[in-house]
Amino acid sequence: MRLPFKFTFWKGVLVVIWILGIIATIIRFSKGLGASTNLSDRFPWGLWIGFDILCGVGLAAGGFTIAAIVYVFHIKRFYPILRPTILTAFLGYILVIFALLFDLGQPWRIWHLLIYWNPHSVLFEVGWCVMLYTTVLAFEFSPIIFEKLGWGKPKKWVHSAIIPMVIAGVILSTLHQSSVGSLYLIMPEKLYPFWYSPIIPFLFFLSALAVGCAMVIFESHLSYRAFGHRLKMNLLADLGRVMIVTLVVYAILKIQDFSGRGVWADIFKNRAETYLFWLEALVGVIVPVIMLSIKRIRLSERGLYYVAICTITGFLLNRLNVAVTGMEASSGVHYFPSWMEISITLAIVATGFFVFSLATRFLPIFEHPESSAKPEESVVPEELYSMDILPKS
C-alpha cells in the first residue's frame, strides 16, 4: 500500500484547489454573495444551483436504483455494487447540502424549512426529500460502519428495518429527482423553449436514472484503476441495457414534447442555445445510444466506460443548460461564474473524490463478507430464473 503522505501530482492539485476554495469561502462569508459571485437580481441562480445542486443530486441517483434492484426486486447479483453506490449517494447528498450552505443568503436559517411549511413550493418538497433521503442513506450506509467496528447487534437491527427504509428511499428519490426539474415549471416565459417543458419532471427523472447507471460504471472503472476492484462484466452490461432503454425513452419523450410545443422550427436558429442544445443531445443521448446499440461496445468494459463518460458529460451539460444557458435570454444579462464560485465548486468536488478514496481504503466497501461468501446467492434456485421472476444472468 502507498503511504498516505506520499506527494503525487493529484495530491498537489487537491491542495491547490483546497487553498483557493478556502480563500473563496472566507470572501463569501465575510463580504457576502455580491462580492464573491457574479449573481445579480437579473441572474439570481448560477453555478452553485446549476452544478452543485442540479448535477449533484442527479449524479447520486445510482443509490436508489441499485438499492431498489437489490432489496425490493431481489436481484442479488447486483449486491457487489450496492455499497459503492450507497457510498457515492450518501457522500453526494452530504456535499449537495454542504454546497447549499454557500448559496443560501442566510444558511444559518436552513432549519426554517422544518418549521415554516409551504406545501405549494417545489423547493419545500425538494428540501424535505433531500433531508429525509439523506437520513435514509445514512441508515443504509450504517452497516458498513458497524461492520468495520465489529458491532453485530446494531447491524442486525438495521437489517431488520432495511426494506421499509429502502422503499421510502426509492419514493423520496423519484420525487425529488423529478422535482428539481419541477422547480422550473413555474417559469414558462423565462426558461428557453429547448428546456422548458410541462414534462420536465419526467425528463429530469429519466436522465437521473440513466446517469445513475453511468456513474456506477464510471466508479467501477475508477476503483479498478485505483484498487484493482472491478465489477463483473455481466453486471456492467446489464447497467448498459438499462441505460439504453432509459435514454431511448428519454429521446422519444423529448421528440414528442418538441412536436407538441412546436419547437422544431427553432432548432437550427443561429443562437448559442442551439449549439449548446445540440452538444448536449449529441454527447448525452445520441452518441451513447448509438454506442450502446453496438454489441461489441456494449459488452466491453472499456466501451461501457466511454459510454458512461459521454452520458455523464451530456447530463452535466443538460443541467447547466437548464440552469444557466436557458435562463440567459430572458434575463437580459450574460452570466459567467466568478473565480470564487468556480473555486468553491471545485473544492467541493475534490473533497468528494478525496473522501470517496479514503472510504474505499478504510471501510469494507468493495470487499465484505456478504459479497465474498455470497450466502444469498445460494438460496436463489434455478426455478426462479425459469419462472421469469429473476432475469437470467
Binding site: 441562480w45 436559517r109 413555474i186
Partner: protein, 251 residues
C-alpha cells in the same frame, strides 16, 4: 370585509417627475442614491421608452408566484391587496427572484445577512387607512389608489371615453391571474418591455398540477414496491422450501 385595493398607473399622464420615487424612498427609509433599475435600494423606478414615462414596481399579484415558490412562506398576499414579505423567515434561496414573472424582487447582494427587498404597497400605511406614498405624491394623477374593482371600471371608462388615446388593454387585469397594480398606456405594452407572453391563470397552477399528485404517488408506489418485495420474497422462500424437501426425500 374590505375589498382588495390596487394602484392604477396611467402612463399617458406620467410626466416623469419621479415624485413617486422620492416619496417611496422616504416612506421606506431607503438610501437616496438613484437606481436605473429596481434594486434593494429602490422599490420603484421611472423609466422612459418610446417617448413615454412608465413606472416599475411590484405588481402585487392576486396569486403571487413568489408566495407560491417560497419554501418557508415568507411571502403573503394580504386580503387588502399588498404582497408582503417577512424577512425573519427568509433563508435566502432567491427562488422568488428567479421565478417572479415581472422580475421584481431584488436582493441585498452586498450584505452578509441579506434580505429580499421589494415594494410593499405601503401595507403599513394602508393599515392606518392611508394611501400609498407614491399615489399620494403623484402630482398628475398618473398613479391612483383605490379598490381594484373600482379602478378597473375607471380604466375601462378612460379607454372608452378617449378613443385613440389608449391601447385597448388593461395590463394587470388578467396577467398571471391578475395583479393589484394596473397599467394604462398609449404605447403597446410589449414595446415598453412589459412581459407579454404570460398566461392568464396563476403561474402557481403549473406546479400545483404536479405537486397535488404527490400524496397519491407516495401511497401507490409504496404499496407497489412493498407488494413487489413481498411477492418475490414469498416465491423465493417457497422455492427454497421445495428445494429443501426435495433434498431430504432423496437422502
Amino acid at each position: 370585509m374590505t375589498k382588495p385595493k390596487a394602484l392604477l398607473i396611467d402612463i399617458t399622464k406620467c410626466i416623469g417627475c419621479k415624485a413617486c420615487v422620492y416619496a417611496c424612498k422616504e416612506a421606506n427609509h431607503l438610501p437616496e442614491k438613484e437606481d436605473q433599475e429596481l434594486a434593494s435600494t429602490s422599490y420603484t423606478v421611472v423609466k422612459e421608452k418610446e417617448g413615454v414615462y412608465y413606472r416599475r414596481l411590484c405588481m402585487h399579484c392576486n396569486e403571487p408566484t413568489c408566495a407560491s415558490v417560497c419554501p418557508v412562506k415568507a411571502f403573503e398576499k394580504t386580503p387588502d391587496g399588498p404582497v408582503v414579505y417577512n424577512g425573519k423567515k427568509c433563508i435566502g434561496c432567491r427562488y422568488c427572484i428567479q421565478a417572479c414573472p415581472f422580475s421584481v424582487p431584488t436582493y441585498e447582494w452586498e450584505s452578509t445577512k441579506p434580505l429580499v427587498r421589494k415594494c410593499t404597497m405601503c401595507a403599513e400605511k394602508q393599515k392606518q387607512g392611508k394611501i400609498t406614498a407614491c399615489a399620494e405624491a403623484c402630482p398628475t394623477g398618473a398613479t391612483t389608489f383605490g379598490e381594484r374593482d373600482e379602478l378597473l371600471k375607471e380604466a375601462r371608462k378612460r379607454i372608452q371615453e378617449n378613443p385613440g388615446q389608449y391601447v385597448d388593454y388593461i395590463y394587470g387585469e388578467k396577467e398571471a391571474g391578475g395583479t393589484s397594480v394596473l397599467f394604462l398606456s398609449s404605447v403597446p405594452f410589449e414595446k415598453l418591455g412589459f412581459p407579454s407572453n404570460l398566461i392568464d391563470e396563476p403561474l402557481s397552477n403549473l406546479t400545483w398540477k404536479i405537486m397535488s399528485k404527490i400524496p397519491n404517488y407516495v401511497v401507490v408506489s409504496g404499496v407497489f414496491l412493498y407488494g413487489m418485495y413481498w411477492i418475490i420474497n414469498r416465491r423465493m422462500e417457497f422455492a427454497e422450501y421445495k428445494n429443501k424437501s426435495k433434498g431430504s426425500s432423496e437422502d
